[in-house]
């Protein structure tokens, strides 16, 4: 019983690679992605309201650090092994330090299909992990330079589409509570998997365009796009295990950590590190890591999480 949403992704990739006439307009992409972000936010917010926030502080601190450490690991690898320019190394590192909400949604759907529970407030960590890597990336590229207009950069980061909608959803869920969002469930919860299927169909088409530029950038970027998520997943699952998360929660944290941003980070980098080549980083995050995670990575990280938890006990 294969999860059919993966097949939608595959269908999109194949349609794109075979240059079919199938095309989904960007306006539909906008609608679908906003609905997914709201669903994830609302769900997380409702659960967050039930938590003692003080008790979450250790998790918040540790997981935010993860978003700082990951790009710091990736950067020297890209710079010295990959022989990329400083700005490109910094930019790619930022992509992998941050997260992909689409990948997170697929992992949630994977756990739901298996009936595995997880810490429902995980979407909080999606928001938390989205941003720090961007600052690290800019610092790596520029140093603490006066050139950087930090006000503009912060604006770009905190008010990017993804962060605003996810945060908005979290807050609305938090304020409204389970009962309050009840009438929203038919659209945002019951349709979740269908919306995700359509979204992945479109992502498949998008990904296929980036697959084409793969050969231009060679083997190193391919290896990096496959190995960096594995390292991320390992670190994420270790931290999840040490934080005593449930197996589902560890899987999600591993997935987040393994995932690479393709919306927030590229947008911020265009503005703050324009010399970095955007095609290069998107080829890695969208052309390699996203499909890898969605098709093979998530089941692997699920398995990994169980190993790590067993190992830690």
């Amino acid at each position: 019983m294969k999860d059919p949403i993966i097949l939608f992704f595959v269908m999109g990739v194949l349609a794109g690679v075979m240059r079919s006439q199938l095309r989904l307009p960007s306006q539909i992409y906008d609608l679908l992605s906003i609905m997914l972000l709201l669903t994830i936010g609302l769900k997380g917010g409702v659960e967050l309201a039930k938590q003692n926030l003080i008790e979450l502080i250790p998790q918040i601190v540790v997981i935010t650090s993860l978003g700082i450490i990951l790009p710091l690991i990736a950067y020297p690898v890209l710079l010295h092994l990959g022989k990329f320019k400083r700005v490109d190394s910094a930019s790619i590192a930022a992509h992998y330090g941050s997260v992909s909400v689409g990948t997170f949604a697929v992992a949630v759907s994977f756990l739901n299909a298996k009936g595995i529970s997880y810490e429902q407030y995980m979407p909080l960590f999606v928001v938390l992990l989205e941003m720090p890597a961007i600052f690290i990336g800019i610092l790596l590229a520029r140093g603490i330079s006066k050139e950087t207009d930090w006000k503009e950069v912060s604006h770009e980061i905190f008010l990017g589409k993804g962060v605003v909608v996810l945060m908005g959803g979290l807050l609305i869920g938090w304020i409204s509570g389970d009962e309050g969002i009840e009438p929203l469930k038919p659209l945002f919860f019951d349709q979740f998997k269908g919306i995700l299927a359509l979204f992945l169909l479109e992502m498949g088409l998008v990904t296929s365009a980036h697959l084409r530029s793969l050969k231009r950038y060679g083997l190193f970027i391919l290896s990096f796009g496959l190995l960096m998520p594995l390292l991320g997943a390992l670190m994420g699952s270790l931290i999840g295990g040490l934080l005593n998360l449930t197996p589902g929660g560890v899987t999600l944290l591993a997935t987040l950590s393994a995932s690479a941003s393709y919306i927030a980070v590229p947008a911020a980098m265009r503005i703050s590190v324009p010399e970095a080549n955007p095609t290069l980083s998107l080829t890695a995050s969208l052309g390699i890591t996203f499909p890898f995670n969605v098709i093979l990575g998530i089941p692997l990280y699920f398995w990994l999480s169980h190993q790590v938890i067993a190992f830690l006990n």
């Binding site: 095309r23 989904l24 307009p25 960007s26 992409y29 906008d30 589409k161 479109e202 088409l205 998008v206 365009a209 084409r212 530029s213 393709y262 919306i263 590229p266 947008a267 265009r270 503005i271 324009p274 010399e275 095609t279 998107l282």
Partner: protein, 106 residues
């Protein structure tokens, strides 16, 4: 109906720069422009326009020759090297000309 000679500056670039360019226009005293979403291809490969990340914008500014040169100069210095951007100037005859002067040039 009197006709005035003006320049039409057309800029084609990544949609991700829209906000930054609008801020620049404000600083340069440009209050009139028209934007259309586009797709296309160029030296940086194909941009299919099927999601935010692959959409272009096509900006048109009707202005005086001096203002046109000033914007072009600004774009050249700040964006040309690292961004997917092309731009070109052409001659147009406009009907209501006072719209196409910046406050400075009046």
């Amino acid at each position: 109906m009197i006709v005035y000679k003006r320049k039409l500056l057309t800029i084609i670039t990544e949609s991700g720069l829209e906000n930054a360019l609008k801020r620049d226009f404000e600083r340069l005293g440009i209050h009139g422009y028209t934007i259309v979403s586009a797709r296309g291809a160029g030296r940086r490969g194909e941009r299919l326009g099927n999601w935010d990340g692959s959409t272009n914008i096509r900006i048109e500014i009707v202005c005086t020759e001096e203002v046109g040169a000033e914007i072009a100069q600004h774009l050249y210095q700040h964006y040309y090297e690292h961004s997917g951007m092309i731009s070109y100037l052409s001659d147009v005859d406009v009907l209501r000309p006072n719209k196409f002067e910046t406050p400075d040039s009046q």
